[in-house]
């Protein structure tokens, strides 16, 4: 593995055996004696490389295999076949060695001690991760400042709000200053402000420390604001791996033109290649064919024929693009 590669995954596959139990009263009763099994492939022979310092969004619908991949990269699960290396270590073979060099945040579960003040948890993690006192103090000073932890340190974790707890959890995962950070749904359940402060911090450590970050999320704003690179998973397979910006460019025809006409010129005749997706009085939302004319031409045509009060172009959101990919309305030809 080259030095500049943080994570390398080759032909990674994970199969699970699940049991199916019957429905209803009798079905359940029957299941006491007999139960069927079937094999599902959660992660289906995936390959990717992540370079040091990258900020990668790892997305997909529930059950697409995101968490399973993260679990294999963090050493929780052993793959059925294929290989994975993180920092040059095989996580499921050298679990402890790997654990010392990664940070992991699970959005729904805290790693802090519920009944104790936050500071106690940090102290304990310092010991567990064998961080020297001086390194710890230096790192804590940084984290305290960047995440605004100072007022929280003496509070027991059970009294923290979700947002406060997440800030503390992220700090906890960085106490040993790991080169790679895995975040599983770090913004889940947070309010808008809390989400923003978490995002600001993540983008900052990625920039200043060069920490490689892999983020799974359902919130496409996280992706749009943070992740230069995006890996999209569907039914265990990677269906897109590339620049987030590229995805947006590729689906530029998903751009929506919002036009407001003057009242006396409200009726717009059909323009070839343009579809009205929504209208509200004299305000209309238009989309256009990608293989037809460019956006400039479309706007030009409209402006020359009608009196326009206001016109603006809305970028397609990553959210809508991915939604369309999931719904199979867009076919990804290349990736």
């Amino acid at each position: 593995m080259q030095d500049n590669i943080a994570i390398e995954v080759k032909g990674l596959r994970k199969e699970f055996k699940v049991s199916s139990s019957g429905k209803g009263f009798l079905g359940k009763l029957q299941a006491l004696f007999h139960r069927g099994h079937k094999i599902i492939t959660a992660v289906n022979d995936i390959d990717f490389k992540i370079r040091r310092g990258e900020f990668v969004g790892y997305v997909g619908e529930n059950g697409a295999g995101k968490s399973t991949t993260i679990k294999m990269l963090t050493g929780i699960l052993v793959p059925t076949s294929g290989t994975a290396e993180v920092n040059g270590i095989v996580p499921y073979k050298d679990r402890k060695k790997n654990a010392a060099k990664i940070g992991v945040v699970f959005g729904q579960r805290t790693q802090l001690w519920w009944d104790l003040p936050v500071r106690e948890s940090f102290d304990l993690l310092r010991v567990i991760f064998r961080v020297s006192r001086s390194d710890f103090d230096r790192q804590m000073a940084k984290l305290e400042k960047a995440l605004g932890l100072r007022p929280l340190l003496e509070m027991p974790v059970r009294k923290l709000s979700l947002g406060q707890r997440m800030r503390c959890d992220i700090a906890a995962s960085l106490i040993h200053n790991p080169p790679v950070l895995f975040l599983d749904e770090p913004t889940i359940g947070l309010d808008v402000l809390a989400k923003q402060s978490v995002r600001n911090f993540l983008s900052e450590i990625n920039r200043t420390e060069g920490t490689t970050i892999i983020l799974t999320t359902h919130d496409m704003n996280d992706i749009e604001q943070l992740c230069k690179r995006l890996i999209i998973l569907e039914e265990g397979k990677i269906i897109f791996d590339g620049e987030t910006e590229f995805l947006k460019q590729k689906f530029v025809h998903e751009k929506v033109i919002e036009v407001e006409f003057y009242e006396d010129d409200c009726v717009m005749q059909g323009i070839p290649g343009v579809t009205v997706v929504r209208e509200q009085g004299c305000k209309k939302w238009l989309t256009f064919d990608s293989d037809g004319s460019g956006i400039g031409e479309v706007i030009g045509t409209i402006a020359s024929q009608y009196k326009i009060k206001d016109i603006s172009v809305k970028e397609p959101s990553v959210e809508s693009i991915i939604r369309n990919i999931y719904d199979n309305r867009i076919k990804l030809s290349t990736s």
């Binding site: 009263f25 359940k28 006491l32």
Partner: protein, 266 residues
């Protein structure tokens, strides 16, 4: 509470139990384990003497008692931490806006739980015991009927005891010590291990002062025939009196708890 609703809740709680078949088999082993220990114990104790009757029990009678008291006890198994969890996670507030009585909903849930235990544990344990041990149960229809009545009364009493203990969660962060305390008193005074007949005289006033013997001991001795039919009505009246007393305690506690919830928001 409407009967349909009661059965709906009971059925849901029943189905929840069935989901875990492993637990189900282990439960039979657990129940039988106690039966085995106590029947062995009585056999060992009785074998030391030439006398065959002790405190009114022959070896067969005491073995029958040991099996049946455990059968009743297993049937009464319920999850006594439901209320505690509801108070802790705040979902108890939902009970205030529901149009149904919390006590009866809780009872319905317990009934579902117990129905499962009766089918999946009590019956298998009794059947195995019938095959292995020398047991005699008088099969008089009237006795069986009054037993069923007394059994239900005992069941309601235990539900009320658990309900009241669970409500302590309104006032205490941790109620496990209370539960353990309750369990300790119950184990000793209910006759679940040693029938009340064997208790020394000086403990009798205390036993009679507490409700526990009406939960296990009396329903069981009605079934085994240890109690003459003539005494049964007075036993059932005592059970009903205790239900009344416990009912008053429960509703006082529930109302006080509700008030605390409304004022302090949990």
């Amino acid at each position: 509470m409407k009967p349909e609703l009661f059965f709906k809740f009971a059925s849901i709680s029943f189905q929840k139990q069935v989901t875990y078949r492993f637990d189900c088999f282990v439960g039979i082993v657990n129940g039988f384990l106690y039966v085995f220990i106590f029947t062995s114990l009585w056999k060992a104790l009785y074998s030391q003497f030439d006398t065959t009757v002790h405190n009114g029990f022959t070896l067969t009678a005491i073995t029958t008692y040991a099996v049946l008291v455990m059968a009743v006890r297993i049937s009464f198994t319920m999850d006594d931490s439901i209320i505690y969890r509801k108070v802790m996670d705040g979902s108890i507030a939902m009970e205030l806006i529901r149009p149904t009585s919390f006590f009866f909903m809780n009872l319905a849930e317990n009934v579902g739980h117990s129905l499962f235990h009766i089918m999946a544990r009590t019956f298998p344990v009794v059947i195995i015991s019938l095959l292995l041990f020398d047991i005699s149960i008088p099969l008089e229809p009237v006795r069986l009927l009054v037993f069923i009545f007394s059994f239900f009364a005992g069941y309601i009493l235990i539900s009320m005891l658990n309900f009241a203990a669970g409500l302590l969660a309104f006032w205490f962060v941790e109620i496990f010590p209370f539960m353990l305390f309750k369990y300790a008193l119950f184990t000793f005074f209910s006759g679940g291990i040693v029938p009340i007949d064997f208790f020394p005289e000086f403990l009798k006033p205390l036993v009679n002062f507490l409700p526990f013997q009406y939960m296990l001991y009396f329903p069981t001795v009605i079934l085994t025939g240890r109690v003459p039919m003539a005494e049964v009505p007075s036993i059932i009246i005592s059970q009903l009196m205790w239900i009344l007393i416990m009912g008053v305690i429960c509703s006082l506690m529930w109302n006080a708890g509700k008030k605390k919830l409304v004022i302090q928001g949990g």
